[in-house]
Amino acid sequence: MGMVERTEGHVERSAQGAVARNSHPLSPLTYCRRNIRRLLPMAVVIVLSVFLVASVVTIVDSVDLTVTTVYNYTRVLTVVIPQRSSLAIDPDDRNRIAGIPGVDRIIDGSGFFMSLNTVFGATPFLVMAVTDSSRNYILQRANDHLSAGRMPVPGAAEAVLSDGIVRNKRLRIGDVVAGPDDQGGLAGCPLPVRLVGIVTGPTWIAFTTPEFANAAMPLFPRHLIVTAKDQDALPAISSRMLAVVNRSKVQVLSYRTLVEQIRTTLDSMYLIMSLVNAMVILVVALMSGMLSNIYFTQRLTEFALLSAIGIRRSTLLWHAVSETAVVTSIGWLAGMIVTWILMALMKESVFERRGMLINPHDVMALAYTVPIPFIITAFAMATIFIRLAKLDPVTIIERR
């Protein structure tokens, strides 16, 4: 009785009647299908590592996603606010901004701040107080539209919010959006402001009326809302603004100053994530190298026999590597599916409750896991290559 079939006897049932006349008996798919139980540990290791790497990337990306989502309005408009020394924009600065080519509209705004729950704590979010026509103009530029309730009545303590903000604050129509007892830095409003409508679309945005804002918060700094004729030119226009205004009197809140600055501070987090991922991939590759070494030892007699009856080492290597590739690919796929399902399940119950916007189908996460099957297959290939080079079929076949 050869050792080969003693260790692999359990596969007998699955192979019953599987004698396709022309399928190659050494096909890697056949091997994997009939040795599922034996290959399971390797597959599980891959599933877990893919899940680990993908979920780390998804969670780290959620920080970035939160920043870009919360400040997505800066893609549509740039807000120019006075420095702390004054309550309004200097007319000279306003004129200089108006003189920049490509500027579409300069809208006078006031308003108040409400606070959002984000992964980096309570974050102030501007509730813009603009005229009806300006509001409609901004909504149209932002691709947003009213989807529930109504627009605020001029002068009333009312606001409309994007559905994302509504979910973030877990609000319903009629609930208080901001009030005198709000905590969180800049946020707050002397009167409780109620939610009367919800807007839907790609851009998070919030509006109240200037009649209300000016009456309730006369000291809130008056600011400018600047849009570009060509939306893609807004970053350049914002940079130009910084160059022309008196910076000791004016602050420019653009995509660049808000989002990119936060991103820079996230760099160290990305570095840590990359290190963690590299470590996971390295450990997994080493582990799977060891696993394929064990597999090879278990199948030593099989390879020795095939080598003795004249099957080339390169062919044997190719078979072993394809088998590993099949397992790693399936493991990777299963790992991605597990990650996507778990992340989707945790999205609302875990992450969004903590103000973390996550994309459960993060393509970046997918990209980070792609090296895993390749590195594992490469490790297995190296291991098997070395073992095959040293293989002397005679000594193994002689053993009894």
């Binding site: 596969v11 192979a15 004698v19 022309n22 095939l306």
Partner: protein, 245 residues
């Protein structure tokens, strides 16, 4: 026993496969074992040849050297004019596949393949011809009924017959069988040797065994002792002679 004295008229002696001054030494640390010492044999291109000798006399070593599984330390092994002692290992592998068939003492089969698939492992291409040939060989050897069975469902004798079928699949010029009956009972042993013996018209069958009875039918028997080929014998001469092992 005299060298080359026993030759059937029916037997073509050519120098298809021959060993000249072959020595094989194993090095195990500081100790050196001479498994073969100055072996000179010339084998016919067809027929049924036995190899006998006490345990450790170098029978297996001779088969390995003749079949290109090992390179001799000294001397030449010639197969159809090619010196196997100088051939590259990929050339030897190719020769083993295309020209030689192997049956080992243990009925080595791939446990995850059916008997049918194990037989086909010997084929360079799994095409219609290989499948037809596999079906024929398995039928001839009386194992067609086991085609779909896994090795773990077969007895030792049945497994060894599958091994014989695999060895015959490529119509090898030479079949090397190293104690193919050692793990089998008397009945199964005979069955396997009879199958091998039937191949004598198609090619050369070399069977190593301790059991003289298995070689009753052999054309000639090579007698080995202490790494040397002592000479040729016949089944009648060898019958009842205790060769040890």
């Amino acid at each position: 026993m005299s060298v080359g004295s026993e030759t059937d008229a029916s037997e073509r002696i050519t120098d298809d496969l021959s060993a000249a001054g072959v020595g094989l030494a194993y090095h195990d640390g500081d100790t050196r074992t001479d498994a073969l010492i100055d072996v000179n044999v010339t084998l016919p291109s067809t027929g049924f040849i036995g190899v006998m000798g006490p345990s450790g006399s170098g029978k297996s070593s001779l088969l390995y050297v003749l079949s290109g599984l090992k390179r001799p330390t000294t001397g030449d092994v010639r197969y159809r004019g090619e010196n196997l002692a100088r051939a590259s290992s990929s050339r030897l592998t190719a020769l083993r596949r295309a020209h030689f068939g192997f049956v080992f003492q243990q009925p080595w089969l791939l446990g995850w393949q059916t008997a049918w698939e194990n037989v086909l492992d010997g084929a360079p291409d799994v095409d219609e011809r290989a499948c037809e040939r596999a079906a024929r060989v398995m039928k001839d050897l009386g194992i067609a009924a086991f085609a779909r069975k896994m090795p773990s469902q077969l007895s030792g004798g049945e497994k060894q017959r599958v091994c014989v079928a695999r060895a015959m699949l490529n119509r090898p010029k030479v079949i090397f069988a190293d104690e193919p009956t050692a793990s089998l009972d008397h009945h199964n042993g005979h069955l396997v040797v009879d199958m091998l013996a039937r191949y004598r018209q198609e090619g050369l069958v070399i069977v190593v065994t301790h059991d003289a009875e298995m070689l009753q039918d052999a054309d000639r028997i090579l007698v080995m002792r202490d790494g040397r080929a002592l000479g040729w014998s016949t089944p009648s001469q060898t019958a009842g002679v205790a060769l040890g092992g």
